[in-house]
């Protein structure tokens, strides 16, 4: 392993991370809800009474973020290296898997670990390991 010091951005990572933690804390303390994006979006696909408005509001806020950011600074460049086919397969896996496993990076990773939930700890270790292994196979074994 060699650390890519030129790519490493510790301060913006720390500040951005703290904002994410603040957002999750706000939803927990204010609304009594966990800020799991896959759960919030998934709940919109199976609407229940009283369960739609706050989810739409949260997703609306998420979608407004790039526009709010642009009021202050230029959006940073987003680089996608995947082909369209890989994007589709990845999206299907992320959608199905996050619902089957009841959470994603936000629900299990951020909120679950903050709640000190052993279940989320196991889920986070599992998807991190799967992510590391997948990138290893794709970049170093297949050599894409």
């Amino acid at each position: 392993m060699t650390i890519d010091w030129s790519a490493f951005t510790p301060w913006s990572a720390l500040i951005g991370g703290a904002l994410i933690g603040l957002a999750a804390s706000l939803l927990a303390l204010g609304n009594g809800r966990v800020a799991g994006i896959s759960g919030i979006v998934g709940g919109l696909l199976a609407p229940q009474r009283g369960e739609t408005a706050w989810r739409l509001a949260f997703v609306g806020g998420l979608l407004a973020a790039p526009w709010a950011y642009r009021l202050v600074a230029a959006m940073p460049r987003l680089r996608f290296d995947s082909s369209w086919g890989v994007l589709i397969v990845a999206g299907l896996l992320v959608g199905f898997g996050s619902r089957l496993g009841s959470g994603c990076t936000s629900g299990h990773g951020v909120c679950g670990l903050s709640r000190l939930s052993p279940r989320s700890f196991v889920a986070t270790l599992t998807f991190m390991a799967a992510g590391f292994a997948t990138v290893f196979v794709v970049r170093h074994l297949i050599g894409a």
Partner: protein, 137 residues
Amino acid sequence: MLNLSALLAGLLFGLGLIVSGMANPAKVTGFLDLAGRWDPSLGVVMAGAIGVGLVGFGLAKRRTVSLLGAPMQLPASTAIDARLIAGALMFGIGWGLAGICPGPALVAFSAGAPQALVFVLAMLIGMALHRITAGRR
């Protein structure tokens, strides 16, 4: 008020993803590529988020009603079962393939990235497929 609070939480969450660089898939795969030139940023993002989250959820866990008067509905499940592991494995493979997870996908979509639109549509189909198959059990 609850919807305003949720809107603000979503906005802050999205801004956090942009500021931290996590809306950029190349940054995420840079973290997941342990054997290549490794970018530790995602680990620092998690540390920052959990550092603040520990305080927020520590306070939230003691409450039965939220500050705005809503019932606390934090996850109650503690089951570590095959579904959890299989779901996390599938999610992790998809995450590793493209470097995109649900939050950043929505932010990048709104920022105008066509790749994110394709990813979000596939993700919604994946969620719907889970709902259909789960309904049969």
